[in-house]
Symmetry: C2
Subunit: 169 residues, 2 copies
Amino acid sequence: MITIRKAANDDWPMIWEVIGPIIRAGETYALSRDMSEDDAQKYWMGSDRETFVAVDDGDILGTYYIRANQAGGGSHVANCGYMTKTKMTGRGIARTMCEHSLLYARSAGYRAMQFNFVVSTNERAVRLWQFLGFEIVGRLPLAFQQPSGNFVDALVLFKALAAQRGSHQ
Amino acid sequence: MITIRKAANDDWPMIWEVIGPIIRAGETYALSRDMSEDDAQKYWMGSDRETFVAVDDGDILGTYYIRANQAGGGSHVANCGYMTKTKMTGRGIARTMCEHSLLYARSAGYRAMQFNFVVSTNERAVRLWQFLGFEIVGRLPLAFQQPSGNFVDALVLFKALAAQRGSHQ
């Protein structure tokens, strides 16, 4: 039974066990593969965001953050990043975290959620986000270089959370 | 005759004269309208970017920054922000700065340039970026709230700088 709760500073070692291998692999996130553990903590648990963990029987199997994607006139759109422990994929952890983040975003007053940079080859993630109602609203040509050296597209995904008023322009 | 040069710390008071009114107006940039001058300096002249000024007869009429848009596998794509002194629009300052930034980005090894958040109602800017070869690759529905309260779309613009190899996927 997976539960989601706010991350505490004490959780960092187990969070690092989740996100460290993914950062080092460099296949899905546009983060420096050799960033220090300290910099990773400053990034993932920074003061500009809220960080959550997905816990099963005391083990942290996944983690996500939520923050405003832009400041000022863009601060009503949330942005999240999710990571699931490498050997635990396919168990619904990412889906549970994303559903939690959508509810949390709504309760926090966000009107939409945006993912800025989903690597197009991360097909499992793209399918999941689409299943959860995200639309591909942008395609960044060859914007991601895989560790192999190959350049592939990145995608921008977007989901409205509220009945939005305003003029499309 | 407008010349572009690297910004020095001493330039800050004149840079602030350019960007302060634009930040306070909140019509075109997703920045907090009431951010302090100190925070604005940390943002516009931060250590993660290079900042330039457009100078005419000793006066700073415009300024731009260039930085990597993403870390790691996304660091070959540049991102820029440009601001022109409010009363000086229409004199080609933004165009001169953008052309300079494209040359500079190429020389620095960037393979593309991306603007993440161009407010769709900023029609002059959108037309200029398109004239300079940028394509609209994404549309973020109602992602920007104008000071009036109205929500309007924001656009993602992208321009390849090099003959790119790789597989579109």
